[in-house]
Symmetry: C2
Amino acid sequence: MKKNNKPQKVRAISIEKILNAAQDEFILQGYKGATVQSIADSAGLPKANVLYYFKNKENIYHAVLEQTLNMWDEGIGDIEAHDGPKVAIEKFIRAKVAMSFNNPKASKIYAMEIIQGAQHLKDFARTYQRQWVREKAKIFKCWIDNGEMKQVDPVSLIFLIWSTTQHYADFDSQILTIMNRADYEDDDIEHVTNFLTDFILRGCGLKQ
Amino acid sequence: MKKNNKPQKVRAISIEKILNAAQDEFILQGYKGATVQSIADSAGLPKANVLYYFKNKENIYHAVLEQTLNMWDEGIGDIEAHDGPKVAIEKFIRAKVAMSFNNPKASKIYAMEIIQGAQHLKDFARTYQRQWVREKAKIFKCWIDNGEMKQVDPVSLIFLIWSTTQHYADFDSQILTIMNRADYEDDDIEHVTNFLTDFILRGCGLKQ
DNA sequence: GTCTATATGCTGATAGAC
DNA sequence: GTCTATCAGCATATAGAC
């Protein structure tokens, strides 16, 4: 049935199935709690096939993490000097909220890694993220010096935007339970984006 | 040596040692990854003693969670109508930041539970927290209707304060790495409290 | 209360038939 | 490439000596 049907395609499909299943299992059970068997079951493949594609559990986890970091990278949005503070911050918040609602699993994997000490992500933070934060902080400093926005600690501001936007992905179960809802709806992205944009721009002295 | 030295005291001390060790292990290794042996080693007790006091691993975890929820309850601070919005919000932020910096482990255990689907905390959220949020939202609504603060969605505001304050506990490894620091210092509590209080009060239209 | 020894079950990983 | 069978190792939990 499935034989000789574009051999590379089977491989690609299996790998994607495995990575999706692994993401779910690692979130729900943790690294140690997720078993190769449970990942295989969730992917609808025999355990041996999973180990055929990835050799061992650690490799699966690394692949999931790599996927996650790529999403972080793409979803981070950007803060560009020529936009001016108001437009730049709005763009940035919009990108982060969209990423939270569209890729909550990536956000959760990432959050658990950090909470558990960031063993696998220390290098990423030490090089890439530290550099990114410093660059963007410089842009904020320029805007502040030019009187384009209020005197607000840029690094704290970046952490505030990260935490408020990611919260909707990482803590979705708490938020939904408290609001007595089963799932997020399309409106929620807009509502959250508008609330955060308004509130944060006001905090930066960029609105009324 | 240790024998007949206030038998109840030995029990209390052992239990506290075990709970502290368990907290560390559950954070670093997850529920499944933390073994009774590793908890015992970290507590400086033989494995059998740990199981003598708690019977099984799940009971240890429940005890850690209970401790965590008690801290959440004590550390939540309060929002009281008679304080007026400015003082009430400032008190609330101060309490949450203090709790984050003083009990980062409790915050992390709590965060991991929520991220993993809040299996053990759904009831807590459904009853206690939902009620708490609704009560406090009502107080905010009064203030807004009386023109004491800007029209800001109260529930979103509570989530924003939770996320920004907890972030410093849960994501400490990322924050410290990015800022190229080894540990938080005493000044940091003050700095973060001041930044968040200023910023959030401004967001609520309660400052310049 | 403290600790050793052990039973039982599950997990990661491999070997090898198809 | 796919899948079955299997092994060696480890984890929980208990039994029972001290």
